[in-house]
C-alpha cells in the first residue's frame, strides 16, 4: 500500500479533527477575558454566571484540543521522518518557544480556570483566564511561523549531510528573526486569528440564539450574543481585508498556489470565477461564471494586467487544481456570507429588533457550522495549494522583480549544490517534495492500522463531544452564585445521581 497516500490521509484526518478545537479556544478565550474583566469591574452577577458557563464549554473544547494535539507532534516523527530530519533544525527554535512559553502557560492555568472558582479570589481567577487566553494565542504564533516557513522559507540555508554514503539535505537556521518574519508569517497569522475569532463568536452566538429562541436564560443570552456579535462583525470585516492582502502576498511568493486557487490555466488577463468546476485536462472551468479581469483587478488594481498561469509551472510542480479551487471558494464564499449575516444582525440590533427576528436567530444557530467549515477549508487551500512540495523552494525573480523563466518558459525555483563523499557535486532544488518526506521505516499496513485506530477513537471523541456539549447546553448557565461543598459529608450526599463534574454544576435543566 502507498505509504505516502495513507500518511497524507492520516495527517488530513488528524489535523482536520484537531483544528476544530484550537480556533474555538482562541476565539472563546478572548470572550472569557472580556466577561471576567466586566465582572471584576461591575461585580454584576450576570457576568460571573456567563463566565462560569462559558468556562465549562471552553474547558471541554480545550481538553479535546490538547488530546488530539499530542498526536500532531508525534505524527511528524512517526509518519514523516524524512521531513523531520529536513526541518528539525529550523523548527527547533519555534518548537522550543512553543513548548516553553505556550504549553505550560495554558495547561497550568487551565487547572485554576476550571477547578479554581472556589479556591482562588476573583482577581487570581481573572489572571488565570488571561494567561490561558494568552497561552493559546502564543501557541498559534509558533505553529504558524513553522508552517509559513514551509510555504516561504527565509532565514535558513540548506546543508548537505552524509548518511550511509547518500547525500541528504537539511535546512539550518541562519537568522532567527528572518525565519520568524518570513514573507508569509504575518499575513497568515493575522488571518488565522481572525478565523479563530469568527469561530469563537459564532459558537457563542449559536448557543445564545438557541436560548433566545427557546425563551430560556434570556438576559444571559442577550448579553452573550451582543458581545459576540461585536467581535463577529469586526472579525468578519477584517477577514475580507486580510484575505485580500494575503492573496496578493501568495501571488508574489507562491504563484503556482494562486493559479491553482483560481484555476488560472493560461497566463494572461485574470478572470475571477464565481462558480464552476475546473477541468484540468481541458484546461478550462466548466460552467464558469466569471468577472472578466476580476482577478487582475484584485491583484493589481487593473483589469488587464496579465496574471501568471499554471502553464508557466512545470507540470511536475503543479498543485492539485480542483481541491485548491473548491476549498478556496468555499472559504471565500462563507466569508462573504459572514459579513452579510453579521452586518444584517448588527443593523437589526441597532433597530432593537434582532432578538425578535426569529429567522435570523435560526440562521445563527447553524452558522457556527459554516465558520468551522471556513476555517478548515482555508487550511485545506493553504496546504493543498502548496503541493507537490512539503517545503516549497523560493521562486526566483530578476532584479526588476520579474519572474525568471527557464529554457522551457517555466518559472524557476531556487536550487542548491550538494557534494557527496566521492566529491561529485550536483544541483538540487532547495525544497522538499511531499512524496520524499515520509518515514523510510514505516509500512503501508502500519499506517492503515493507525488510521483505523485514530479514526475509531476520534469518532468516539466526536460523538462524546457532541453528547456532552448538548448536555451542558440543555443544563444551561447556573443562576446561583458561587457555592461550596467543602466538607466531605456534604460532598458525599451529593454523589451518584448528582450532576457535578468538571464542567457542569448547579441548576439542572428546567
Amino acid at each position: 500500500m502507498d505509504v505516502v497516500l495513507l500518511s497524507r490521509l492520516q495527517f488530513a484526518l488528524t489535523i482536520m479533527f484537531h483544528y476544530l478545537f484550537p480556533p474555538l479556544t482562541i476565539g472563546m478565550g478572548v470572550v472569557l477575558v472580556y466577561l471576567e474583566g466586566m465582572y471584576l469591574r461591575t461585580r454584576a452577577p450576570i457576568y460571573e454566571t456567563a463566565a462560569r458557563f462559558w468556562t465549562k464549554i471552553f474547558a471541554l473544547n480545550f481538553a479535546v484540543g490538547v488530546a488530539t494535539g499530542i498526536v500532531m507532534e508525534f505524527e511528524f516523527g512517526t509518519n514523516w521522518a524524512v521531513y523531520s530530519r529536513f526541518v528539525g533544525d529550523v523548527f527547533g527554535s519555534a518548537l522550543a518557544a512553543e513548548g516553553i512559553f505556550a504549553f505550560f502557560l495554558e495547561s497550568g492555568f487551565l487547572a485554576v480556570l476550571v477547578f479554581g472558582w472556589d479556591r482562588v479570589g476573583p482577581r487570581m481567577h481573572f489572571l488565570s483566564t488571561v494567561m490561558v487566553s494568552l497561552g493559546s494565542i502564543f501557541s498559534s504564533v509558533w505553529i504558524v511561523v513553522a508552517n509559513s516557513w514551509q510555504q516561504t522559507p527565509a532565514g535558513s540555508h540548506l546543508v548537505a549531510v552524509e548518511r550511509g554514503g547518500a547525500g541528504l539535505l537539511r535546512a539550518e537556521i541562519t537568522d532567527f528573526w528572518a525565519l520568524v518574519f518570513n514573507p508569509s508569517t504575518v499575513e497568515r497569522l493575522v488571518h488565522v486569528w481572525i478565523g479563530a475569532f469568527i469561530l469563537g463568536a459564532f459558537f457563542i452566538m449559536s448557543i445564545s440564539a438557541w436560548y433566545l429562541l427557546r425563551g430560556r436564560h434570556e438576559d444571559f443570552a442577550r448579553r452573550s450574543f451582543a458581545g459576540a456579535l461585536l467581535l463577529g462583525t469586526v472579525a468578519s470585516l477584517a477577514a475580507a481585508v486580510s484575505g485580500h492582502s494575503q492573496a496578493r502576498n501568495v501571488y508574489r511568493h507562491q504563484p503556482a498556489k494562486l493559479a491553482a486557487f483560481e484555476a488560472h490555466f493560461t497566463t494572461g488577463r485574470g478572470d475571477l470565477s464565481m462558480f464552476g468546476l475546473p477541468d484540468t485536462r481541458a484546461r478550462t472551468i466548466r460552467g464558469n461564471v466569471a468577472i472578466p479581469g476580476g482577478l487582475s483587478f484584485l491583484l493589481f488594481d487593473d483589469f488587464s494586467t496579465p496574471v501568471l498561469g499554471l502553464d508557466r509551472i512545470r507540470p511536475a510542480d503543479r498543485p492539485p487544481v480542483v481541491t485548491s479551487f473548491l476549498s478556496f471558494r468555499i472559504m471565500v464564499g462563507l466569508g462573504v456570507g459572514f459579513v452579510a449575516l453579521t452586518l444584517l444582525a448588527s443593523f437589526l440590533y441597532w433597530r432593537g429588533r434582532l432578538f425578535t427576528t426569529r429567522w435570523v436567530l435560526w440562521l445563527f444557530v447553524f452558522a457556527v457550522g459554516g465558520s468551522m467549515v471556513a476555517n478548515e477549508a482555508g487550511w485545506v487551500a493553504a496546504e493543498v495549494g502548496r503541493q507537490p512540495w512539503v517545503v516549497q523552494p523560493p521562486v526566483l525573480r530578476g532584479p526588476d522583480g520579474e519572474w525568471l523563466l527557464d529554457r522551457d518558459g517555466y518559472i524557476r525555483y531556487a536550487t542548491t549544490t550538494i557534494t557527496d563523499v566521492s566529491g561529485r557535486s550536483r544541483e538540487v532544488v532547495a525544497g522538499l517534495r511531499t512524496v520524499d518526506a515520509v518515514s523510510e521505516a514505516v509500512t503501508g499496513g502500519q499506517v492503515l492500522g493507525s488510521i483505523l485506530l485514530f479514526g475509531t477513537i476520534y469518532l468516539l471523541l466526536g460523538v462524546l463531544w457532541i453528547v456532552v456539549l448538548d448536555h451542558k447546553i440543555r443544563a444551561g448557565p447556573e443562576r446561583m452564585g458561587p457555592h461550596r461543598e467543602d466538607d466531605l459529608a456534604g460532598a458525599a450526599g451529593a454523589l451518584v445521581g448528582h450532576r457535578h463534574s468538571m464542567t457542569e454544576s448547579g441548576e439542572a435543566a428546567p
Binding site: A63, G77, D89, G92, S107, G108, A441, L464, R484, E485
Partner: protein, 338 residues
C-alpha cells in the same frame, strides 16, 4: 560541543520531570480498581484532577525538545517505534477521554466502563514507557543511514518487559504515596497497607533489573569506568529506596513521597548514563548509533533553544508551583470536581 552536552542534560531533566509528575497520576490510574465505592473512585480521580493535564505537558515538551534539538534521533525513534507510539497515543487519548467523560452521565455502568478504561490506558501507557526505556538501554537495530531496520518483535524481549514491569511498580508506588497524602480515613488506611505490597514488588523487580543489566548489557555500565563520580548516584538511589520502608514504618508519608521522587530521578539519571554519549544506540553495530553530536541540530539552534529554556524555565516552575499550591491539601469534592 558543550551545547550538545547541556541539551542532553536538559532532556534528562525533562524526562525526569515527566516521570516524577505524570508518574504519580499514571500510578493513581493503575491503583484505581482499589477504590471500593463511587465516593472513593471520585476521590482518586479528583486527587489528580487539576494536575494530570499539566503533567502531560512535560511529555509534550520532551517530544518537542527532542524534535528540535536532536531531530535525527526524533525521526529514527518515532518512525522506528511506530506501533508503540500509535498505541501510546491511543492510551493517552483514551485516558483523557475516560477522565473527562466518566462523570458526565449518572449511570453506574457508564462510570464503571470508563473506570476500566482509565485503569487500562494508564497501565498500557506506563508499560510502553518502561519498554521504551529498556530499548534505550539495549539499543535497536539501525541501518547505515541511521534508520530503524528491525521489527516490532525486536522491541519487546524479556529485558524490555522487565523494565516495563519495573516502571509499572515504581509508578504504582509513587501514585499510592501521592494518594495517601491526598486522602483521609479508611481509604488512607487501606492505601497504607497497599504501599508495603507495591514497595515489595518494586524492590524485587528493581533487583532483577539491576542483576540482568549488569550481567547481560555491558554497555549500560561502561560509563561508570570513565566517570566514577556517577557511583554517588547509585548510592543515593539505594539509600532512597531503603528509606521508603523506614518512612512508611514511621508514618512519614511526605518524606516517603520525596524518597520515591528521588528514586525516580536517580533512575532517569542512570538511564542517561547508560546511553551516553549516544541518544540511540545501534544494537547491531555501535558505530551506527546516533550520538548527541551526530543527531543534533546546528549550534545556532541549540543556542537559541537554550536561551528560550533559560528565560522560560523560571516561569514554568512558577506556574507549576502556583497550581500545586492552589490545589494543595486533601481532596475535596466540590462543584467543579470530576
Amino acid at each position: 560541543m558543550t551545547l550538545n552536552l547541556i541539551w542532553f542534560g536538559l532532556m534528562a531533566v525533562l524526562l525526569a520531570g515527566y516521570a516524577v509528575l505524570d508518574g504519580f497520576d499514571l500510578g493513581v490510574g493503575m491503583l484505581h480498581p482499589l477504590a471500593r465505592d463511587e465516593r472513593e473512585r471520585r476521590l482518586f480521580v479528583n486527587a489528580i484532577g487539576p494536575l494530570w493535564d499539566g503533567n502531560e505537558v512535560w511529555l509534550v515538551t520532551f517530544g518537542g525538545a527532542l524534535f528540535a534539538m536532536f531531530p535525527e534521533a526524533y525521526a529514527t525513534i518515532f518512525s522506528g517505534f511506530y506501533v508503540a507510539f500509535v498505541l501510546l497515543l491511543f492510551a493517552l487519548i483514551f485516558r483523557a477521554v475516560s477522565l473527562e467523560f466518566r462523570g458526565k452521565i449518572a449511570s453506574s455502568r457508564w462510570r464503571r466502563a470508563w473506570d476500566w478504561g482509565f485503569f487500562g490506558s494508564s497501565l498500557l501507557a506506563t508499560l510502553l514507557f518502561g519498554v521504551a526505556v529498556g530499548n534505550g538501554v539495549l539499543g535497536v537495530p539501525l541501518d547505515a543511514r541511521g534508520v530503524f531496520s528491525g521489527s516490532f518483535q525486536d522491541l519487546v524481549g524479556p529485558y524490555q518487559l522487565l523494565t516495563g514491569g519495573l516502571t509499572v511498580t515504581i509508578f504504582a508506588m509513587h501514585g499510592a504515596l501521592f494518594l495517601h497524602l491526598k486522602t483521609e480515613g479508611a481509604v488512607q488506611e487501606r492505601l497504607g497497607r497497599t504501599l508495603w505490597h507495591v514497595w515489595g514488588l518494586f524492590l524485587v523487580l528493581y533487583l532483577l533489573t539491576t542483576i540482568f543489566t549488569l550481567l547481560t548489557v555491558p554497555s549500560a555500565s561502561a560509563n561508570f569506568r570513565h566517570y566514577p563520580w556517577a557511583g554517588a548516584i547509585v548510592v543515593a538511589n539505594v539509600l532512597a529506596i531503603a528509606y521508603i520502608p523506614r518512612a512508611l514504618f514511621l508514618r512519614r508519608y511526605g518524606r516517603a513521597f520525596l524518597a520515591s521522587t528521588l528514586t525516580i530521578g536517580c533512575l532517569v539519571f542512570l538511564f542517561a548514563m547508560a546511553v551516553f554519549p549516544n541518544i540511540l544506540l545501534a544494537r547491531n553495530d555501535p558505530e551506527l548509533s546516533w550520538t548527541i553530536y551526530t543527531a543534533a541540530s546546528s549550534p545556532k539552534t541549540l543556542g537559541i533553544g537554550l536561551l528560550f529554556a533559560g528565560i522560560g524555565m523560571p516561569f514554568v516552575l512558577a506556574y507549576t508551583g502556583i497550581v500545586y499550591w492552589t490545589f494543595r491539601g486533601k481532596v475535596h469534592l466540590d462543584g467543579q470536581s470530576y
